[in-house]
């Protein structure tokens, strides 16, 4: 009879081969739908860029793409100075007290808030205040407000990743607190910070809710001058009778490529893929475990 604690167990073998199977199945579904998107969307996308980039047709993919990217980076540029300042203050300057705990909790909670809340803010507060004709500004401000808590908590956690010895050594050399932050911590945390910020932007850039809400402030106008790629995809899928048209596949593929590139850049910056196995670093039979 096999002991429960014997090195090899039959159940263990079955279960861990099923773990492998299920994991690859799940990844396979992901790869499958992206592959399907590429399969259906690649031709239309190439055609859009080749034929109609400058034509006066209804081909608006290229300007849409530029607008999406510029609005995204504009929002991030608006939010970054404030966010980095606040993150540095919370991590390096603020005293450990109840107030700091509250601020951290508020920022963390707001960073995980559903985007629809920020959309509602743009729709109900910013849109009536700025009025019609300032849609771009309203959208910029909304995405900046949405990015703000995310970037603050990213900055905070990036600085917390830096070992304490960096601070101690810099202070021991007579550096001021600002010199420590700027000269010793930022070069170390900057890469992580940039990576996480890019990842956050990849998420924000693909989100539809704020644009839908802001466009809803002017029902007749259908978000024409502010339609971004995700909003355009949503609107044209919902309004056209035919869901599976080449135009939609092209748009979706362009959107996926944009987000994946942003996220891939973030991954390259972070380079954490090196020590994936959270495990004993002991090579045996070609496995890390």
């Amino acid at each position: 009879m096999r002991d429960r604690h014997s090195p090899q167990t039959y159940t263990g073998g079955i279960i861990y081969s099923s773990i492998i199977l299920i994991s690859w199945l799940a990844a396979g579904i992901l790869i499958f739908y992206v592959g399907y998107l590429v399969f259906r969307g690649f031709g239309p996308l190439v055609r859009f860029f080749r034929d109609g980039a400058f034509a006066e047709t209804d081909n608006i993919l290229l300007p849409l793409w530029f607008r999406t990217l510029s609005l995204l980076f504009g929002g991030a540029l608006l939010a970054l100075p404030l966010a980095i300042g606040a993150g540095v203050y919370l991590s390096e300057y603020a005293r450990e007290n109840r107030l700091k705990q509250w601020m951290l909790a508020a920022v963390g909670g707001l960073a995980e808030m559903p985007p629809i809340v920020y959309g509602l803010f743009g729709w109900g507060a910013l849109a009536p205040y700025f009025g019609e004709g300032k849609q771009t500004l309203i959208f910029l401000l909304t995405s900046a407000v949405w990015l703000l808590p995310q970037l603050v908590s990213v900055t905070y956690s990036a600085l917390k990743e830096v070992p304490v010895s960096f601070r101690r050594d810099s202070l021991a050399l007579g550096g001021s607190r600002w010199q420590t932050t700027w000269g010793a911590l930022m070069p170390c945390a900057g890469r992580f910070l940039a990576a996480e910020a890019l990842g956050g932007m990849a998420r924000v850039g693909g989100e539809t809710a704020p644009v839908i809400m802001i466009a809803a402030a002017w029902p007749s106008f259908h978000g024409q001058s502010l339609s971004t790629l995700p909003y355009h995809l949503y609107r044209s899928v919902v309004e056209s009778g035919e869901v599976a048209s080449p135009h939609h596949f092209g748009t979706a593929l362009l959107l996926v490529l944009t987000s994946v590139c942003l996220q891939g850049a973030a991954l390259r910056l972070k380079r954490t893929g090196d020590s994936l196995a959270g495990s004993v670093h002991e090579r045996e039979r070609g496995r890390w475990y």
Partner: protein, 285 residues
């Protein structure tokens, strides 16, 4: 800390204010907090005003909240076990090269926007639905599955990040005692990771509950295919109801209470998740 005491001394000698980097950082923090407070206060005031002044369609609000929770819970029930298995596979079982491939795939595809997943879902559902009429109730499982597809990569990478933090010495001790890999997973890794699994569940719940595009697109498709469905509120989740209320101008007064409810829910869920992360004993090297 030496710095602290120096500052105290400076403060006691009367040199209380000096314009420097700290002032600017303080101002930035204050500005950030003011902006964030503006968002919260705007929603809260709107909610209070409409609760006091208008008699609300409580049925719609309640349906939306329950729907959000049910659909999100369905998505998490599907995505969490699969994400857990993938995380175990990557950190415990896989050779390093497939692990890296798998991890890159998951991490990169976690950025795919939910509109795209909603679109793919509609395309696939379209083939299926074309012969039969659409009923909104059949869209529940579809919405849950699509949300699970959306949240699975980020859930799995969340779990991987936390599994990697478990100290290697625990695993080493387990193997040194002659345990098999499976026994190590069950008796060593799982107890150390239990709290982060619970936290991952709450993380996924928050993510799926707040998502707008997928359910909205499904609902719009159902509403287009049949007239009765367009009056049907049964598939409204909170974000969907907010968008539809703003677009069609039906439920202006219900928007703010619903937004406040989803804020409270998301705060509660994220703080529960954080509580789980903190409460459990952390394994330190």
């Amino acid at each position: 800390m030496g710095i602290e005491s120096t500052k105290e001394k400076l403060a006691s000698t009367g040199q209380t204010f000096r314009f420097g980097p700290e002032t600017i950082l303080k101002l930035a923090t204050a500005a950030t907090l003011v902006v964030l407070a503006a968002v919260v206060i705007f929603v809260v005031i709107g909610a209070v005003r409409s609760v006091l002044l208008v008699d609300l369609d409580l049925d719609l609000i309640l349906t939306a909240v329950v729907n959000s929770l049910v659909i999100a819970a369905g998505a998490v029930v599907v995505a969490l076990p699969v994400g857990l298995l993938s995380a175990l596979y990557i950190t415990e079982l896989a050779p390093s090269k497939p692990a890296k491939m798998f991890w890159t795939t998951i991490k990169v595809l976690s950025a795919v926007p939910s509109v795209v997943i909603g679109f793919i879902g509609l395309v696939w559902l379209g083939y299926y639905e074309s012969s039969q009429g659409t009923s909104p109730l059949r869209l529940y499982p579809a919405a849950s599955l699509l949300l699970a597809l959306m949240v699975y990569p980020s859930l799995a990478s969340f779990l991987i990040e936390h599994f990697r933090r478990i100290s290697p010495s625990l695993r080493a001790s387990s193997y040194a005692l002659g345990a098999s890999r499976w026994q190590t997973i069950v008796y060593t890794v799982y107890p150390a990771a239990r709290s982060s699994i619970a936290a991952a569940g709450f993380f996924g719940l928050g993510r799926t509950m707040g998502d707008t595009a997928i359910v909205l697109m499904l609902w719009q498709a159902a509403a287009r295919s049949s007239l009765t469905a367009s009056q049907d509120h049964r598939l409204f989740t909170v974000p969907t109801a907010i968008v539809m209320g703003a677009e069609l101008g039906w439920h202006h007064s219900e928007l703010f209470p619903m937004a406040m409810l989803i804020m409270i829910l998301s705060l509660a869920i994220s703080s529960l998740g954080r509580r789980f992360m903190q409460s459990h004993w952390r394994v330190q090297e």
